[in-house]
């Protein structure tokens, strides 16, 4: 049984009324179409959009195409490059040097790391001993040396010098005494011929070869 209060749909009448009031709602549907396909609309918005689609063929085709593209686009993400591709990539990367390590390990494997560290240490030393900051450090130290603690530090220095003299006495005899064994050994080492000595030049020559005249003799 049909509802006597409802008349059959008349698209022309609807278009005419909308044309005189809000205009065609297709533009509004276009703003909602993507969210409708993604299921991101509220139930009310989805119902209104669906009601429009039931009567608008152009929008229904558009939404249908949107649905088709939403299904098809992700399928285009992965394409088989062919059977030999992996082997080709692995061959190409096998020709490369080992991959560089990461972080600090990479830094430490730099070929000139020792040189760079030495340079940094030298720079740090120069800054520490020749910069104005070093002078400030000396000025800060001075009162400490003049304090009683500084005096005790002076005693320590004197004791250290006495120790050095005593240790040297073991190896070096005082004047007027026979030389110590270490001194004798040093003297014998010094007596060894050195490159450039006359005796050294003659080494290797036959014994009957007369000595070469010195420059003075030649004159």
């Amino acid at each position: 049984m049909t509802d006597p209060t409802r008349f059959p749909d008349d698209p022309e009448l609807t278009r005419s009324i909308l044309g005189r009031t809000s205009g065609a709602p297709c533009a509004r549907l276009r703003t909602l179409a993507c969210d409708l396909v993604d299921g991101a609309l509220t139930p009310d918005e989805a119902a209104l959009a669906q009601a429009h689609l039931d009567h608008c063929t152009a929008c229904a085709i558009l939404v249908s195409a949107l649905r088709a593209s939403a299904d098809l686009l992700p399928a285009l993400a992965d394409l088989d490059p062919g059977p030999g591709f992996t082997a080709r990539v692995l061959w190409a990367t096998s020709l490369l040097p080992e991959p560089a390590p990461s972080g600090w390990a990479r830094l430490l494997q730099r070929p000139r790391i020792a040189l760079e560290l030495a340079y940094l240490a030298a720079a740090a030393g120069i800054l520490a001993f020749h910069s104005p900051a070093a002078r400030l450090l000396d000025a800060w130290r001075a009162p400490v040396l003049s304090s009683p603690l500084g005096a005790s530090a002076g005693n320590l220095v004197q004791a250290e010098r006495r120790t050095v003299r005593a240790v040297a006495g073991i190896f070096v005899a005082p004047e007027g005494q026979p030389p110590r064994p270490a001194q004798r050994l040093l003297a014998s080492v010094r007596a060894w011929p050195r490159p450039g000595d006359a005796g050294d030049e003659r080494r290797g020559e036959p014994e009957d070869t007369p000595p070469r005249p010195s420059p003075q003799t030649r004159d």
């Binding site: 276009r30 703003t31 179409a33 993507c34 085709i61 558009l62 939404v63 249908s64 195409a65 949107l66 649905r67 088709a68 593209s69 939403a70 098809l72 686009l73 992700p74 399928a75 285009l76 993400a77 992965d78 394409l79 088989d80 490059p81 062919g82 591709f85 992996t86 080709r88 990539v89 692995l90 190409a92 990367t93 490369l96 080992e98 991959p99 560089a100 390590p101 990461s102 972080g103 990479r106």
Partner: protein
């Protein structure tokens, strides 16, 4: 092996892990390169170039979440450099259906597979008719599945631009597909 577990092995230079990594991502890299160049041989060369670059920079390999966007960014840059070298813009011409049959699909029925490949070829052709930015947004967001933020970072455009352009690009593509009879 999950990507989270695989990546530390790859970073350490393990050859088997590297092979697994290549196998996992080669299809994605090749597909994106193919969409840019529209030439399977160029795409293969570019995909290989991308993996060589990745191998040289394994210390910079991001964690699992950032891995795909990083790879796609390298791929895109390689493709743009290639196109610049070729002094040509992406052509996106007619792609033979047979060529897109290489797309991974679960279809077993040959007839259905051919139909599917024809539809994909139609989408590929329609993509070629979009503007550069709209096409790139669809390639990265809708096809490769990157987030709006990741696409914006790769394309170096604001997030809002990607959002608004994405809707517009999808509608534009749908209109072209509808005109080709795909939405009927």
């Amino acid at each position: 092996m999950e990507l989270e577990q695989l990546i530390p092995w790859v970073r350490r230079g393990d050859e088997l892990a590297w092979e697994a990594f290549v196998r996992r991502f080669q299809g994605r890299v090749f597909a994106l390169a193919h969409h840019y160049t529209d030439d399977p041989e160029d795409a293969r060369d570019l995909a290989q170039e991308v993996f060589v670059k990745v191998y040289r920079n394994l210390h910079a390999l991001p964690d699992a979440d950032g891995c795909l966007p990083w790879l796609l960014r390298i791929t895109r840059n390689a493709c743009l450099d290639h196109l610049r070298r070729m002094k040509a813009r992406p052509t996106f011409g007619e792609v033979p259906v047979e060529e897109l049959a290489g797309l991974r699909t679960t279809e077993l029925d040959p007839e259905a597979a051919h139909l599917d490949a024809a539809r994909k070829a139609e989408v590929h052709r329609a993509l070629g008719e979009l503007t550069d930015l709209n096409r790139e947004i669809l390639l990265l967001k809708e096809i490769q599945g990157l987030s709006v933020e990741e696409v914006a970072a790769i394309l170096e455009v604001p997030v809002g631009t990607v959002k608004s352009r994405s809707h517009r690009a999808r509608l534009e593509l749908a209109e072209k597909l509808a005109a080709a009879g795909l939405g009927a």
